[in-house]
């Protein structure tokens, strides 16, 4: 076994203190989560879902983009194959997020690891990765952020499905639709390592753009992430 190059050492933890830290770190992005959740509730009602069904979907699926996509396919008879394929394609990026957490689950029991993945999502994952760069070794950080998002997402769906008239235009007026991309941007700056990341990130960006232009929607995160990871691996092989 090679020595991990993490400054914090090899083993990860999952503690309540970590859960609490992660939940607090998520506060600023809970506002857009709430508004998108309410928007989903409203859209679901428009697509013919009853309130309880929209809320149950938010509680169990907990993945916004794929939930919106399902509304487009919401008719009888159920279009099973397109619906589940769309769900998979839109959420396939989670595969990369999960894979990248290998070191942050090291030493945890299987049930803790896989229970934590129930709330894995882009935002709390990015928060954990950013915190890891500052020495965080607690997977609870991701769980806490995910739980906070889950509660807000569910409450917002219930409100939107039952009574609400927030629209995406209201969001855009205050720039709130851009909170997520701006959050990812600050995370990226925190991760950046001079020279080491230049080439992989350039490859990732170009591959993601190419995927946007030439592939069906929603594959760009997977394609860009893999391309950048592989470019990094090639670069790593050349240096050592």
């Amino acid at each position: 076994m090679a020595t991990p190059f993490h400054p914090g050492g090899g083993r990860a933890t999952l503690t309540l203190a970590g859960v609490w830290r992660g939940a607090r770190a998520m506060l600023p992005v809970l506002i857009p989560v709430f508004v998108f959740g309410a928007a989903f509730g409203i859209a679901a009602r428009g697509a013919g879902l009853e309130g309880w069904a929209a809320s149950l979907m938010s509680a169990l699926v907990f993945a916004g983009a794929s939930q919106f996509a399902a509304l487009d396919l919401w008719h009888a008879p159920v279009p099973w194959v397109p619906l589940l394929l769309a769900t998979f394609a839109i959420n396939a990026r989670h595969l990369l997020l999960g894979a990248s957490l290998r070191m942050l689950t090291h030493g945890l029991s299987a049930w803790k690891r896989y229970a934590a993945m129930i709330v894995l999502s882009d935002l709390n994952w990015a928060a954990l990765i950013a915190a890891e760069a500052r020495g965080e070794r607690d997977l609870g950080y991701m769980v806490g952020g995910g739980l906070a998002m889950w509660v807000v997402w569910l409450v917002a769906t219930v409100i939107g499905a039952e009574a609400g008239d927030v629209t995406l235009t209201d969001l855009q007026r205050y720039g709130l639709d851009l909170v997520l991309v701006v959050f990812f941007t600050t995370t990226l700056v925190g991760l950046y390592r001079k020279r080491i990341d230049d080439l992989p990130w350039l490859v990732a960006g170009l591959a993601a753009l190419a995927a946007v232009w030439w592939l069906p929607t929603n594959w760009h995160v997977l394609v860009g992430g893999l391309a950048g990871g592989l470019a990094g691996l090639v670069q790593h092989g050349r240096r050592t």
């Binding site: 076994m1 991990p4 600023p28 149950l56 979907m57 169990l60 699926v61 794929s66 939930q67 008719h75 009888a76 159920v78 099973w80 619906l83 769900t87 998979f88 959420n91 989670h94 595969l95 990369l96 997020l97 999960g98 894979a99 990248s100 290998r102 993945m117 990015a126 990765i129 950013a130 205050y174 720039g175 851009l178 909170v179 991309v181 701006v182 990812f184 600050t186 995370t187 700056v189 950046y192 990341d197 992989p200 990732a204 993601a208 753009l209 995927a211 946007v212 995160v221 997977l222 394609v223 860009g224 893999l226 391309a227 950048g228 990871g229 592989l230 470019a231 990094g232 691996l233 790593h236």
Partner: protein, 101 residues
Amino acid sequence: MNTSDTLLVIFAMALVTYATRAGGLWVVGFMPMSPRLEAFLRYLAGSVLVALVVPATVRGEGAAFVAVGATLVSVVLLRRALLAMAIGVLAAALYRRYTGM
């Protein structure tokens, strides 16, 4: 869609989604840990973020450029993530107000 179909669709979607959440960690668990794999996973994390940000910025017309640009400059200069996010969002809101987009 009737109630039983609705329940079935929601449960099936939940299963597929959980499979994507757990699958990456599961697969990578079969690979022996090595400095190479660790380096790959490290590059993977950054690359996924790049792949989230770049297309959203390019496709999101002027306001997204303004938001991401203002955030980048602010976070590099001020080193405060929350403040930088606020500046980015505010800049985009102002841009929309004055360009009417």
